[in-house]
């Protein structure tokens, strides 16, 4: 365990130092994306990996987070940090509204219901005049400061904000795993009948997992909105975003605290580099590579890559 702690500290230290070694925006952007997806991956892992409910609709929470912040800021001038908190509130609300009926569904029915919910949320935002409909929202450019959550000349503050988000997500996940919640979640995943007979209220605990998942994803939505400064439905509430989150959790290891972080560290660079270096000539090759990785992992190592790292560190 001590060794694990040392590795964790080294890992975070490396992340803190990283932007001082790589001063160009692109490598920084890359790490920002990795940490952002890592955070969302952890969010997905709580509902999907721990509680075993495959959600293909987490992009809806990302969208709600991004839109809440953007609308409040552009229409009422409300500070984006408050927008972030309200985004979490609305996402949780959506999680409850959606989760309450959906959690009665099992397995595949639940997975497809979440696809449906994600798509419905996208259609609603695409047609909602007040929220800019298809045009989306240009976020007003404010003076750059931490208070305003906007930085125009450097990516450094964005970098540390998302690093803090990642650390927060890991803490949440750690707390879940060490508490009774983690035990309940696993029971729901592995043996729902047994859990029920032990008197665990399955519905309620699934909801708790979904809310935690929603909050972690919503925070990322706010971050994204403030990072790109322009959002629209097609890229904030996209089915593919939800799918990427599952892949990230799968690559790293389902139901493992660090799984999604490892997954993001592999998946995002792979996406970026195949896009940049194969993209225009070898169209489709990047997709073939992901596909083979996903199929091989799911077939040969469904527990993800986490085990390899864990073994060597414990």
């Amino acid at each position: 365990m001590k060794k694990g702690l040392v590795i964790l500290l080294v890992f975070f230290a490396a992340l803190v130092i990283y932007p001082f070694i790589f001063k160009n925006p692109f490598p920084r952007h890359l790490l920002i994306m990795i940490m952002l997806y890592g955070t969302m991956g952890i969010g997905w892992n709580i509902i999907g990996g721990y509680a075993g409910q495959v959600s293909f609709g987490n992009a809806a929470f990302f969208g709600v987070g991004a839109y809440t912040t953007a609308i409040l800021l552009s229409k009422y001038g409300i500070n984006p940090w408050i927008g972030m908190l309200l985004g979490c509130f609305f996402s949780s609300l959506v999680a409850v509204i959606v989760g309450y009926p959906c959690f009665r569904l099992r397995g595949h029915y639940f997975a497809i219901a979440t696809i449906a919910v994600g798509e419905i949320v996208q259609i609603l935002f695409t047609n909602w005049e007040y929220a800019g409909a298809a045009v989306g929202i240009y976020i007003p450019i404010l003076e750059e400061s931490f208070f305003n959550f906007q930085f125009h000349t450097t990516k450094l503050p964005y970098y540390y904000i998302v690093l803090a988000m990642l650390a927060f997500a890991l803490l949440v996940c750690y707390a879940v795993e060490k508490s009774r919640l983690g035990y309940y979640f696993r029971a729901i995943k592995d043996d729902p009948e047994g859990a029920r007979s032990l008197g665990i209220n399955i519905q309620n605990y699934k909801l708790v997992a979904f809310i935690l998942s929603a909050i972690l994803t919503s925070v990322c939505g706010t971050f994204y909105a403030m990072y790109v400064l322009y959002i629209h439905p097609a890229n904030t509430i996209d089915l593919w975003l939800s799918i990427h989150l599952c892949i990230i959790a799968l690559i790293g290891g389902l139901g493992k605290i660090f799984g999604p972080v490892i997954g993001a560290f592999i998946f995002i660079p792979l996406t970026e580099f195949t896009r940049v270096y194969l993209g225009s000539e070898g169209q489709g090759i990047d997709l073939i590579i992901y596909a083979l990785i996903i199929i091989l992992l799911a077939t040969l190592r469904p527990q993800g890559l986490w085990g390899i790292f864990a073994k060597s560190s414990s």
């Binding site: 495959v54 569904l105 029915y109 599952c246 489709g284 799911a298 077939t299």
Partner: protein, 286 residues
């Protein structure tokens, strides 16, 4: 107004048959082996490309190349089963989702690599044109596709109820243990279900190619609809998928006409949610 309504219903019905045909393979595979094939739409895409290339390279009309492509797709289904699906039959549901999902990305990648992302379409086929039925216009390709779908359903139902192999398939779907005790080789049945499932979506692809364009991501939209159809009809229920296909087609077209096309797809999804909340096993599921 009545004429318009009749026209709308006719259009919805026709597209509904096509949806049903796209979905039947998905529901069969699920019924027999409890696996959702997320790559189902991609097989539709592959078969549409076959149809397109048979037309471009050999000048074969889709209606003539249909039998050959059906056979090829049957083979592809069997091969897919032995290479990708068999190793994960007993794996957790998550692994199964990811493997078929990987297949989806794989097939899309192959299509993009081989054929680029251009939109392609067969300009004129034997089925082109339209028919005027007492003021209601019906596209001939749509009509051909609908008739094809109904025939295909007839054959499948006959096969399941009246042949030994078909009944064995049903038996496996019903209860794997019991089927094993009865001496049915479930592995072969699984392979068969993949063969038939992919062959039917292959037929749908060929018929669709007479009036729809093909590009590497064409499967996406149809696959999502197929999911809704299958879940609405009840996973594993062939008859349920037929009914659900028609319902989805009608809901999409009628809500698009009467309410607002921007929301037509939302009504389809909402219908699905409403049904599964009230009846989580779908209309005809057990």
């Amino acid at each position: 107004m009545e004429g318009v309504l009749a026209q709308t219903l006719a259009s919805g019905l026709l597209i509904g048959f096509v949806y049903a045909l796209v979905a039947v393979g998905l529901t069969m595979i699920f019924g027999v082996m409890d696996i959702v094939n997320f790559a189902h739409g991609e097989y539709l895409m592959i078969s549409m490309y076959f149809s397109y290339w048979f037309f471009i390279l050999f000048g074969m009309d889709p209606l003539y190349s249909l039998p050959a492509i059906t056979l090829i797709m049957f083979g592809i289904g069997i091969i897919t089963y032995y290479i990708a699906i068999r190793p994960i039959i007993n794996a957790p549901m998550l692994s199964q989702i990811f493997v078929t999902f990987g297949l989806l990305i794989f097939l899309r990648g192959v299509a993009q690599f081989l054929w680029k992302v251009d939109y392609r379409m067969i300009p004129e086929t034997l089925a082109s044109g339209n028919i005027n039925l007492a003021g209601i216009y019906i596209g001939r390709p749509q009509l051909v596709a609908a008739v094809g779908a109904i025939l295909c359903y007839g054959v499948i139902l006959w096969f399941l109820k009246n042949t030994k192999t078909g009944m064995a398939l049903e038996a496996v779907a019903e209860d794997k243990e019991a089927a094993r005790l009865m001496g049915i080789n479930s592995n072969r049945m699984f392979a068969l279900s993949w063969g038939i499932g992919i062959a039917t979506v292959g037929i749908a692809g060929v018929l669709l190619s007479t009036f729809f364009y093909v590009f590497p991501e064409v499967g996406g939209a149809f696959c999502l609809i197929a999911f809704v159809v299958v879940a609405l009809g009840g996973f594993g229920s062939v008859v349920g998928a037929f009914l659900a296909g028609i319902i989805v087609g009608l809901v999409e077209v009628v809500s698009g006409y009467l309410i607002d096309p921007s929301f037509k797809f939302m009504f389809v999804l909402a219908l699905y949610l409403a049904v599964v909340f009230i009846r989580p096993q779908g209309l005809m599921g057990k």
